[in-house]
């Protein structure tokens, strides 16, 4: 069983969005990074499948050189090897991303390709589907449960809808499909030695072209403080009655 999981390096923003001076990126100085949540669950799912049925998990990302950090984290989770499609850190639109990933995935010829339903940052909702079409494979999205049996994939969505699809296939999963393990230190040390292959893809001009980023205005009002501590309870109940929920 060979599984390919596609992941993306995203910053861990806090309570506020701060942009760079040119307003074309988030200011990431002093921000930590992680793999986008849906995708981390995708890697965990792939590792569990391989632990049960044997096989190999390959993690792929399109990103800057620093994205190796996220690949190593996924290798510590249990992936076997990783491929970094190195960019200069600039944005690639969904179509270009899909094309670059397709080229790598075709070379790997996996039984199953796993994507996150959408990336935490750009949230384009389309890379997985574009790759599936390019590969000529069926794609099921938004899975919260996944099982493989005799070459058939059974996928269940949040709504309870169940899909049965023959392998090879493409899926996208949502956080909550599993709780990713906390990697052991021996796994982290081994991850440092697992292979990370680097390639440098090229892209044409974007068709979904990001012009600038804008931090949305706040609600424009100050929170009305109803009180402090338990003494505020009567004021709260009065509000609840006014709002018609009490």
């Amino acid at each position: 069983m060979k599984l390919v999981v596609c992941v993306k390096r995203v910053p861990l923003t806090g309570g506020k969005m701060v942009l760079t001076a040119d307003q074309r990126a988030i200011e990431t100085r002093h921000l930590g990074f992680t793999v986008s949540p849906h995708e981390e669950c995708g890697v965990e799912e792939a590792v569990r499948i391989v632990e049960a049925q044997g096989g190999e998990v390959v993690v792929v990302t399109l990103g800057p050189p620093e994205a190796e950090e996220q690949l190593r984290e996924m290798l510590a989770l249990g992936a076997d090897r990783a491929i970094l499609l190195e960019t200069d850190g600039s944005e690639w639109d969904p179509e270009a991303t899909a094309a670059a990933l397709t080229e790598v995935i075709e070379g790997e010829a996996p039984d199953l390709v796993i994507f996150g339903n959408e990336s935490a940052d750009s949230g384009g909702y389309q890379v997985g589907i574009r790759v599936a079409h390019a590969l000529g494979r069926p794609v099921v999205t938004g899975l919260k449960a996944l099982a493989l049996e005799d070459g058939v994939l059974r996928g269940q969505q949040e709504t309870g809808d169940v899909y049965r699809v023959p392998l090879p296939a493409v899926v996208s999963v949502k956080e909550g499909i599993n709780l990713p393990r906390y990697p052991s230190v021996p796994a982290k040390l081994r991850a440092r030695k697992k292979p990370v292959e680097r390639r440098t893809p090229t892209a044409g001009p974007p068709r979904l072209e990001m012009v600038r980023l804008v931090v949305p205005e706040g609600r424009g009002k100050q929170a009305e403080v109803l009180g402090e501590g338990p003494a505020a309870a009567p004021a709260v109940v009065e509000l609840l009655q006014r709002l018609g929920v009490a």
Binding site: L12, G14, G15, H30, L31, Y182, S184, V185, P186, L189
Partner: protein, 618 residues
């Protein structure tokens, strides 16, 4: 005479052989042990000092006067009566050849009586008073030993009184029997305690032993804490051999006091039992890898610990319980990934965001808004003091106040200081205490690089955990700085008159932080500050006997089973009648304030820096 000599020789040979076999096993076990992560042989002067004070002087035992004297009598008797053994042996072989020094016999008789007084006192304590600290201890074994000691000294008294060879024989046989029994019982401590005391920490008690993650090592050779018996260090084995099951540590433990499973005594006994059960198998090469943590309730007990060190402080033979507990945690966290799930977000946040609260580093100096605080940028001139704020004061709404007060006070006193702002990340203390040594070391290395690049020489920290780690633990990673706690610096400024608070008459009770008062001996300076701003009134459990607030050992992020440690401490504070509970630690601030609220009391919890700042308001 010949017959007696032969009989004695046989007795000696038998006893000697039995003793030697057992001693050989113990020696082989200890030699199987790993090297501890800190140097245990340097600083000879202080080691000898510990021998004199703790062993000869019985000082830790005398922390409790009556039991202490009880043991001291017996211990000193053993020393004084030692020459009586060869004398008795000579007497057995040739009664005339035995020396009879009246002064010695008188001295010996006095100590025999003292020993009997000791034994009687011990029986009184154990059979009549029956303190809780013996819960879980093997009382039968203790009774046997006490009776045996009584018999030994009685036979000596009788020999001195009657001069009958039979009593000499009885004395020698009892002693030889004792010698054989000794290494099979907790009385092994007679041989090992002095050694254990010698190899204990001489300084930096708050410093944990680092592990070596050098990548050149093969994974099988790496030590990740205590998994199986083969992971124990020789010092941990010596600790286990030296335990007398006295239970003083259990009495001092705040977790035990609030109904949790943890008893530091049972941890050491559990390690000891595991060592004797599995150690010989490991020596023979047919050890099946039984985990130490699954013996008795060691795994559960390991998570209850708040690393306050009250156990280490109480132990008469200087056992270092925290090393065992943290090493058990290390294996559980780093190898098995099995630990209380509520701590997982904290570990992930430390790893990915640089602080245990998961708040962005970019907002780290938000607390300083409106204050004139210099944030050190790369290339800036290095200040006299780098003020290490810590994650709690940076992000927690209650702890923030102490940072603001400290900054205002330092500015007012004209101290040249700056903060690192977003470049300051967690010292790694919560990760280290949790057992994730790997994560801790990555932060230690990163912070040392940051500090060294900025040219920092002196650091003032307002959190005792940061203070402890920066002062005692970072040197293991190349970071050597002069580190003071903010109470030390503020007290100095008050003494020098650079800060002149107006005296107040409010009653203040000061709560000693474990990481200040016990692990680092900072006890006087916060009291100076409390006295400068109010009328201090002391709690019973203070200074090196302080009672934890409950946040240590990463418990700030873990759920507490059983009763609440913080409420117990708040109860004690409230009983002093003071209206203000002064602290010097952001964790204590939050925990004790929570404790005040949950127990519905009226008590103001505030950092001494805040109290000081209030008395300086112009």
């Amino acid at each position: 005479m010949i017959v007696s000599a032969l009989a004695l020789a046989v007795a000696l040979a038998v006893a000697g052989t039995l003793f030697a076999r057992r001693a050989l096993l113990l020696t082989r076990l200890v030699r199987m042990g790993h090297q501890p992560g800190i140097d245990r042989t340097g600083d000879v002067g202080r080691r000898l000092e510990q021998e004199a004070v703790v062993v000869l002087g019985q000082r830790k035992l005398l922390q409790r006067l009556v039991p202490g004297l009880m043991h001291a009598f017996i211990f000193w008797a053993f020393i004084v009566l030692f020459p009586a053994i060869p004398i008795a042996m000579i007497a057995i072989v040739d009664a005339d050849a035995a020396p009879h020094w009246a002064w010695y016999e008188t001295l010996a008789n006095v100590f025999c009586v003292l020993a009997l007084v000791g034994v009687a006192t011990a029986f009184f304590i154990r059979k009549v008073l029956r303190p809780r600290r013996f819960e879980g201890s093997h009382l039968g074994e203790a009774d046997l030993i006490l009776a045996w000691i009584a018999a030994i000294v009685t036979t000596l008294l009788l020999y001195h009184g009657t001069d009958a060879q039979a009593w000499a024989w009885a004395h020698v046989l009892l002693i030889l029997g004792f010698l054989v029994y000794l290494p099979h019982s907790k009385h092994l401590h007679i041989a090992t305690a002095a050694i254990n005391v010698y190899f204990g920490r001489t300084r930096s008690r708050g410093r944990l032993e680092p592990l070596d993650f050098d990548e050149e090592q093969a994974e099988e050779d790496m030590r990740f804490g205590i998994g199986t018996v083969e992971d124990l260090t020789w010092k941990q084995m010596m600790d286990a051999f030296s335990c007398t099951e006295c239970g003083r540590c259990q009495d001092a433990c705040p977790a035990f006091a609030t109904g949790k499973v943890l008893s530091p005594k049972l941890v050491i006994m559990g390690v000891r039992d595991h060592l004797f059960a599995e150690g010989p198998k490991a020596l023979a090469g047919d050890h099946d890898g039984a985990p130490v943590a699954s013996r008795d309730s060691l795994e559960e007990m390991a998570w209850d610990c708040v690393t306050c060190g009250a156990c280490v402080q109480a132990c008469p033979v200087n056992i270092e319980h925290i090393d065992h507990i943290v090493d058990l945690r290390r294996h559980l966290v780093m190898v098995e990934s099995r630990f209380p799930s509520e701590a997982e977000p904290m570990l992930r946040d430390v790893e990915r965001q640089g602080n245990p609260w998961g708040r962005p580093q970019a907002e780290r100096s938000a607390w300083a808004e409106g204050l004139d605080v210099r944030v050190l940028e790369p290339g800036d001139p290095v200040p006299e003091y780098l003020y290490w704020v810590g994650c709690a004061a940076s992000y927690d709404d209650r702890a923030r106040e102490s940072a603001r007060s400290t900054a205002k006070l330092l500015a007012k006193a004209g101290v040249d200081f700056a903060i690192l702002g977003p470049a300051e990340s967690c010292t790694g203390d919560p990760a280290r205490r949790m057992g994730n040594e790997f994560l801790f070391q990555s932060y230690a290395e990163q912070n040392v690089a940051t500090l060294d690049e900025a040219g920092v020489r002196k650091i003032v920290a307002s959190c005792p955990h940061c203070f402890n780690t920066l002062a005692n633990e970072y040197p293991d990673f190349g970071g050597r700085y002069e580190v003071v706690h903010h109470t030390e610096l503020l007290a100095e400024l008050v003494r020098e008159g650079r800060l002149a608070p107006t005296a107040g008459d409010e009653e203040i009770t000061y709560h000693d932080s474990c990481y200040l008062a016990r692990h680092n001996d900072v006890r006087a300076q916060p009291r100076e500050l409390a006295a400068a701003v109010g009328r201090p009134v002391e709690m019973e459990r203070r200074e090196e006997r302080t009672f934890c607030c409950g946040a240590g050992g990463a418990h700030m992020w873990m759920e507490e089973r059983g009763g609440a440690i913080n409420e117990e401490r708040v109860r004690e504070a409230a009983e002093t009648g003071a209206g203000t509970l002064a602290v010097a630690c952001p964790f204590c601030t939050v925990m004790l304030d929570d404790g005040v609220k949950s127990s519905g009391r009226e008590l103001r919890v505030a950092d001494v820096a805040t109290l000081l700042a209030e008395r300086l308001e112009d």
